[in-house]
Subunit: 501 residues, 2 copies
């Protein structure tokens, strides 16, 4: 009976997956190629598929099947079974805990808050967004109250949606020493007063050449183009899974390193998705375990590979030939230094490795305070600007470039931001473990041989899907709990070398 | 109460449309850009959406709503209402007349027959396909028996699926004199023994130049790229409707006229879809009325515009500049003659305008005989080859290029082929009517002004959707029932001029 129930559960899960994977292709198309006129119908298509997926994900039979299986599984030691049941239970509970009325209210408010935010940002007028942020916080508190288990704070309940197990207490313990060291590092680099050569960043390369270049790198990374694509979109992303993984990147004539970074970043996400275990397609065992772990894969390829000296030794002699004669004058070392310039910015998406996490910490401080009522909505801009000065040493000139800079809060993503930093920390810890496992790691990169690294990632991380929790996975792969040590050692060593400190 | 039922009907119809339009984007993606690995999942996605659409299209509430509305509508004279109800009734009956078991059996047999056909064709081995054709015919007879109304033959019942009202008796009355005149015309051109210059067809143009060329023509045709796209696929097609219409074409280095013809053909389909009435989106009033009328739109643009002397006067001086210096030596008249070369071929898809319909008539004769048991399956190749010699004057060298040449029968499309010829006849009759309505028709084409023609087609044909039956539409637009006169006058006049007879 439990076997039959488990089969029903898996079949049901796969049917839901088939629908949501169809929606994913439609979303991809919307961002890459849909004619502008198609937008209205596309919204209806996506809403229809989302409603059908939601209906399936909340089918009460799931709960009944799960109860049968959970009772039976308590007497078994099958890790796969346990992991799948745990994943399905988590997904079912999360899909059913929110009342329909709140889901609808959230969707409607997000849609209107988005518009209000876009207008407020265009006008750099915080007052235009303030009532929407207030309302959004009220709804997020209601949402958190539906989700939270005993002992969880509201923020923790929201954060757990994106990173199972993440909570503000653990994060603060990670972030406080990390911030101290990063602020010190920034000061040290500032004091050195020496900027590496940045000229490559300014050369204008034709877009078709840039595209050939990033495709050559993606191929070398072993991204499988028979099971994936690369296209262009305004904001790079990765969607799809397993045998149909779609990446996008973007090209600016005068910023080839941005195109490369975006491509390697999305390529890292894509390798994770291609590396899941197809035997379990459509069930939690073939799904990424968390946003933080997903981000570790993109940041590992973008930074630990793509901003390493060894990578540029290969890249300059090989993939970069696609850029043509304008690229000839640059040597590998010069580009390596350019790729690692540190220069505090006003927004995370343009940040270097040394200041990136400081943006995340500003957001973390502010959103926990907002959500728990320790910061009044009207005081947000003042507080935002104070923290930017404090952490990053930059003066925020206006709210457009300050607290109105991006879309996360207006579309209801509270508890999401720290996954970016978790990604960096996991990436560093994984990269250090990969280096221990692959003794000639740098030599391989310098030869453009990325297969061993990809294999290590696949067998240690990708193929497990949601078999382990993020912290179990970290412990298993790196023999240590998550800390910022690997990240800081890596970063300080690299930047001190680049800046000749 | 009838008003409420009608609103329910329309809302339900629109919801079904939203799902099937999503499937259409996924099919387009499958043919244009899906990575090969994505095929398995895509098949599941399309099957799932087809099942959901079928479930909606056969919802018994439709019948109940329809009955309420039909009773009420009998007392009203609202043409739109009547047309929508007639369309919905037709669709519902057709979706529910076949028992589930037969639908499944057909789908399974088609899928296996396709594979058997592909193998038999590769081997030019009719014996390998014969049992599948036999089985397919048995199933098609069962299908016809479910569909046919009193007085309809089995073939008529199948043909009516593609062209409402089409029947073998009317077709034979159209085809018999048409065949006689076409065979005579072919003989006359043969006797003339003079081939127009064909050299443009042999020049190798780079694919990006060809693409720029066909895009320029499509823009001139007023295809709206803010509500549509053009991509490449192995077999050109048009899918989508209204604000998201997707065309594909194909390019061969040494056959720019094929790329142009395919593009203008699909462009004609696309203009029809873009020209439907958006106010009725998702209901029969915003759907193409029949395959024959759809094909009339593609053939009108492909042949009546794209193979006219006036068109080439404009095209040579304008769009053709995109082809670069290799195109310079050709003059408009020379290309016009090349585009109108008559040369009987073994397959419809490569046929010129004078012999195209003879391919269709061969198929019509054979499939009516097969379906009604007047031709034994084992005798098909002999009979196929005899008719090709008789109608087209060509010797069929083997079954691969003979009765195994294409996919229609193996995928169950009986009763479909004649819509190609209906398309040609409607196109000619519509083009003649458009010429009467637009006195400077040729001057407009020679200036590259296609807006008046497009507007005439939109207001007379496109915007009506399924408001009229195909024959009502023809009578309305051309003040005459369908005949082959307009087509033959047009063709004989053009070809005698080209061949200087």
């Amino acid at each position: 009976m439990a076997k039959a129930a488990y089969e029903e559960l898996c079949a049901h899960s796969k049917k839901t997956f088939v629908l949501s994977s169809a929606a994913s292709v439609l979303s991809w198309d919307q961002e890459t190629g849909m004619p502008p006129g198609g937008g209205d119908l596309r919204a209806l298509q996506l809403a229809e598929l989302a409603a059908l997926s939601h209906e399936r994900a909340t089918d009460p039979r799931i709960d009944a099947w799960l109860k049968v299986c959970e009772q039976d599984a308590a007497m078994r030691s099958d890790l796969f079974l346990h992991a799948n049941l745990r994943g399905m239970r988590r997904d079912y509970d999360r899909a059913t805990l929110l009342p329909e009325s709140l889901v609808r209210e959230l969707a409607a408010t997000e849609s209107r808050a988005q518009k209000a935010w876009a207008q407020a940002r265009a006008d750099s007028n915080y007052a235009g967004f303030q009532p929407w942020l207030t309302r959004m916080l009220e709804l997020q508190r209601l949402k958190a109250d539906c989700l939270k288990s005993s002992g969880q704070s509201r923020w923790d309940a929201l954060a757990d949606l994106y990173e199972p197990g993440m909570n503000a207490t653990d994060l603060r313990a990670l972030f406080t020493p990390l911030r101290k060291r990063l602020v010190e590092l920034r000061a040290k680099l500032d004091a050195r007063g020496r900027k590496p050569d940045e000229s490559l960043a300014k050369v204008e390369f034709e877009v078709p050449r840039q595209e050939a270049f990033v495709r050559a790198v993606l191929s070398a990374m072993t991204f499988d183009f028979t099971r994936g694509r690369l296209d262009r979109s305004a904001h790079p992303f990765c969607c799809g899974t397993l045998d149909d993984v779609r990446l996008t990147t973007r090209f600016h004539k005068d910023n080839v390193l941005d195109a490369l970074g975006s491509t390697m970043h999305e390529g890292g996400h894509g390798l994770y998705e291609q590396g899941l275990d197809k035997d379990h397609q459509g069930t939690p065992l073939a799904e990424a375990v968390s946003l933080g772990i997903h981000e570790s894969q993109s940041r590992l390829w973008e930074n630990h590979v793509g901003k390493s000296r060894a990578f540029w030794q290969w890249c300059k002699q090989n993939a970069m030939r696609e850029l043509g004669p304008l690229a000839v004058p640059f040597d590998a070392d010069m580009i390596y230094r350019t790729a690692n310039v540190v220069s505090p910015s006003l927004i995370r998406v343009e940040a270097d490795e040394a200041t990136y996490d400081l943006h995340v910490m500003v957001r973390f401080e502010l959103e926990t305070a907002l959500l728990h009522g320790d910061l009044d909505v009207k005081d947000l801009p003042l507080q935002w600007n104070r923290l930017y000065l404090d952490y990053l040493g930059v003066e925020v000139p206006d709210d457009r470039r300050g607290c109105l800079q991006d879309v996360h809060w207006s579309c209801g993503l509270f508890g999401y931001f720290p996954t970016y930093t978790l990604g960096n920390l996991y990436a560093a810890q994984f990269a250090a473990a990969a280096r221990r496992a692959i003794p000639d790691f740098d030599d391989q990169l310098a030869r453009g041989t990325f297969a061993d690294l990809r294999e290590w990632l696949r067998s240690n991380i990708h193929q497990h899907g949601r078999r382990y929790t993020p912290s179990e996975l970290c412990q298993r792969v790196t023999s240590a709990p998550l800390s910022s040590e690997a990240f800081l050692s890596y970063l300080e060593a690299k930047l001190c070398a680049v800046y000749e400190i």
